[in-house]
């Protein structure tokens, strides 16, 4: 059986690519391409062939996207190639870097400049991934359960939101009436790191003396405190403008990028004028990528550092770690501050990207979502955090929305499925509205069937397997 896997994958991929190029607008052929990405990634295939096939698939998907930029399946296919590139073992570093750069900096922009939804999706994934990476340090590596993580994101967002908008003039005499110019964002991204890290230490100082569930409830409470403050600090001094939120938040100048795009002939290439809003999408896409890159690098370095090992030691056995001379509170505080800093910097970017900050974005729900990204991806694993965030984001703002559009079309045209006329489907049943239901179901099923997450960290995987074996042996007795 196994020896047929390789020829089969080869043949299937070849046919899929051929089909997709012959009938580029056909959803079925795109689906075949997606399947072949899966086959190539998971099947038993020699490494050299795997790298080559991934590259060919990426090329084919890019061509498809160029032909039809609103082709979501092709976009998801590219995402899958990206995930495979970074997570599959044995690929050479050169292949990884080449494929990663090609997909992120050539394929996605090619389609994104025409269909800015793709940039939107990319930015959204990037923001969530940075948050997940931040929380991953706290929960995944140091084992400290934090249920109020969105607070740090809020701190970062408000740091830029207040000073990059007319808001600061409300309580500071002589402040520029329209706030600091957008280019100050870069300075404030650095400041957001500092303010968020300080908040992390301030919240951590009382909270980190507690453990386990108590820590969870206290961080939850303190996260709520930050949200309530954001919601109500419009008097006596109007600092956050309360529930209305702050708008407009200034964005950096993208004139240079716009000029560059026009200079390389982007207008002729796409047959449409490149305006400022597209340039902004592109700019934030690049900015988010840059931040994610830095965050991932720092994360990897930290994980392998003295502190990273101390965090894992504390997570595994706090008492043993203490006995070995690891100072508990400072080490935990460092984890808290690091995680907070990661989400703080993304908060500032988020504020500029949305041009709007309000307490709505930083609820308990947001904190729980971030936690779910980490758990779904695989606790403690850096790749897992990114993949978890990407998977949930694509599901929520991509697949579910598409599904509900499809249902709507069926409803309007009165398609009959299994003898049921879809026109009779109640309009209240709109899948886009029920993302929590799907999300909840996924969380439950994941925890039952794959509690170690999509991409588990080595140590965690070993632990979970051990526990499973013990349970099975216990059952056999």
């Amino acid at each position: 059986m196994k020896q047929f896997m390789f020829p089969f994958t080869l043949a299937f991929t070849g046919l899929a690519i051929l089909g997709a190029l012959l009938a580029p607008q056909n959803g079925l052929t795109n689906l075949a391409l997606l399947v072949s990405v899966g086959l190539v990634s998971l099947g038993k295939i020699p490494t050299a062939w795997r790298s080559g096939l991934l590259a060919v698939l990426a090329l084919a998907l890019t061509v498809l996207l160029r032909l039809n930029p609103s082709d979501k399946l092709a976009f998801y296919g590219l995402l899958a190639v990206l995930v495979a590139t970074f997570l599959l073992p044995n690929l050479s570093t050169l292949v990884r870097v080449a494929l990663g750069v090609a997909v992120l900096f050539i394929a996605v922009p090619i389609a994104g400049l025409t269909n800015s939804f793709l940039f939107e999706l990319g930015i959204q994934i990037g923001i969530f991934a940075a948050l997940a990476l931040g929380l991953n340090v706290v929960v995944g590596q140091a084992g400290l359960l934090d249920l109020g993580f969105a607070a740090f994101f809020a701190i970062g967002a408000y740091t830029w939101g207040i000073f990059g908008s007319p808001q600061a003039a409300e309580f500071i005499n002589g402040f520029p009436a329209s706030g600091l110019p957008g280019n100050y964002l870069f300075l404030f991204m650095a400041l957001a790191i500092i303010t968020a890290a300080i908040t992390g230490v301030l919240i951590g100082l009382p909270a980190l003396r507690l453990r386990g569930d108590y820590l969870a409830i206290v961080t939850l409470g303190l996260g709520e405190v930050v949200r309530v403050l954001a919601n109500n600090l419009d008097k006596p001094l109007n600092i956050t403008n309360g529930p209305q939120g702050i708008t407009p938040v200034n964005r950096p100048d993208v004139g240079l990028l716009l000029d560059f795009l026009r200079a390389v002939g982007a207008e002729r290439l796409y047959g449409r004028p490149i305006d400022e809003s597209i340039a902004y999408s592109f700019f934030f896409y690049l900015l988010v990528l840059l931040v994610i890159g830095v965050v991932v690098l720092v994360n990897i370095r930290l994980a392998n550092s003295r502190f990273g090992r101390a965090w894992v030691a504390i997570r595994e056995d706090e008492i043993a770690a203490k006995a070995m001379g690891i100072p508990l509170l400072p080490t935990k505080l460092l984890a808290f501050a690091t995680g907070a800093a990661f989400s703080g910097i993304m908060g500032a970017v988020f504020a500029a990207k949305q041009t709007f900050v309000s307490p709505e974005s930083f609820t308990l729900q947001a904190s729980i979502n971030i936690l779910a990204f980490v758990i779904l991806g695989g606790m403690g694993s850096i790749g897992g955090a990114v993949v978890g965030a990407a998977a949930v984001t694509v599901l929520n703002i991509g697949i579910l929305k598409d599904f509900s559009d499809l249902l709507n079309t069926w409803r309007q045209t009165g398609v009959t499925i299994l003898g049921y006329n879809m026109a009779n489907l109640p309009p209240q049943l709109n899948p886009a509205k029920y993302e929590r239901l799907v999300f909840g179901l996924i969380l439950i099923l994941m925890m039952i069937f794959r509690p170690e997450g999509l991409i588990p960290e080595q140590r965690h995987r070993a632990e979970m397997q051990e526990a499973r074996q013990e349970a099975q042996e216990g059952g056999a007795k």
């Binding site: 359960l145 206290v218 709520e224 936690l371 929590r436 179901l441 039952i448 216990g474």
Partner: protein, 326 residues
């Protein structure tokens, strides 16, 4: 507002706080029971509570329809609603345990996050299922409880305070619940088994107790108490949405922690303290700060108290100090 005015409304504020506290306390009992036995924060309990409120609402609508009431006596109707909600929520809690938590337990994972994430997943699922139900059946999101004159009768008490009849019912039912639960846990065979399982599941199993059955019953009891609390909550505040469980659930959980989680009287006391804190700060903060800090800060106050208390007494008010095993 002068200080004299403040003093004048103090008794009424305390009474309101007492009522709120009893609602929190009732919900907290469910959290604390499950935690006591499984060591699990059952986040889905707030949804079990909300479903109880929805079941109660349906009973009121179905049998208390003003055009053709099947049961015309509001008190009898309330009793029926309480019974149905207790049964429904209890069943729901048992189902959740059976299909979400038990498979995890069989796995034997020691990671405390796994069951907690499952609990969060269950809670999302139940919220949206209720939302679908409300959308399909009533085509609405906010569901209003019917009001009855008998239940809204106001009783004048000394010191310029007054309480509605439904408030008295809330207090009476929750005290009954506490007494009943304490009796059940301390004096009955089931209670003994529950305590045994919470001490040591393996040893209890060796003594001929089936831990699965006992855990299932714990969920049944906790869930039914949550359901009863849900109906009373709906009766008091009249408006129920699929998300109404979240905030009371959070507060109730805070109460349970405040009182020392796993401890039944502790949950009650924690609820009462939190209720008082919330109403007192909600009423007096605007006054003390000249209206600069509004009622919204009551949650901040409640949570900061929790943090402070836990700093000095990490195990909660009635919790026992568990020494670390190495």
């Amino acid at each position: 507002m002068t200080f004299a005015d403040l003093l004048a409304i103090l008794p009424q504020t305390l009474l309101e706080g007492l009522l709120l506290g009893f609602v929190y306390a009732m919900v907290a009992l469910g959290y604390t029971m499950v935690y006591g036995v499984l060591g699990l924060i059952n986040f889905a309990h707030s949804e079990v509570f909300m479903i109880g409120a929805v079941i109660g609402l349906e009973v009121f609508r179905f049998w208390g329809n003003p055009e053709a009431p099947v049961i015309s006596n509001p008190l009898l109707l309330l009793l029926v609603a309480l019974v149905f909600a207790a049964a429904g929520s209890g069943t729901m809690a048992v189902l959740v345990e059976r299909f979400a938590y038990r498979p995890l337990r069989k796995r034997g994972s020691k990671n405390i996050l796994v069951p907690m994430i499952t609990a969060i997943g269950v809670s999302f699922l139940l919220q949206d299922l209720t939302r679908i139900y409300a959308a399909l059946r009533h085509n609405e999101f906010n569901m209003q409880y019917r009001t009855y004159d008998v239940l809204n009768t106001v009783f004048e008490l000394p010191l310029q305070t007054s309480i509605q009849f439904k408030g008295i019912i809330v207090i009476a039912v929750s005290i009954l619940m506490l007494i009943g639960l304490t009796y059940l846990v301390n004096r009955t065979k089931l209670g003994k088994a529950i305590r045994a399982v919470s001490q040591d599941m393996q040893t209890a199993a060796l003594m001929g107790i089936n831990p699965d059955t006992i855990i299932s019953r714990t969920f049944l009891i906790g869930g039914s108490l949550g359901g009863v609390a849900g109906v009373l909550f709906g009766l008091l505040y009249t408006n129920v949405t699929p998300y109404s469980g979240v905030l009371p659930g959070l507060k109730a959980f805070t109460s349970a922690v405040l009182g020392g989680i796993g401890n039944i009287p502790g949950a009650m006391v924690g609820g009462l303290i939190l209720g008082q804190l919330e109403t007192l700060s909600g009423t007096f903060l605007p006054f003390l700060t000249n209206g600069n800090f509004g009622t919204e800060y009551k949650d901040v106050f409640a949570f900061l108290t929790l943090v402070l208390l836990l700093l000095f007494r990490p195990q909660g008010i009635f919790g026992q100090n568990v020494s670390e095993k190495v």
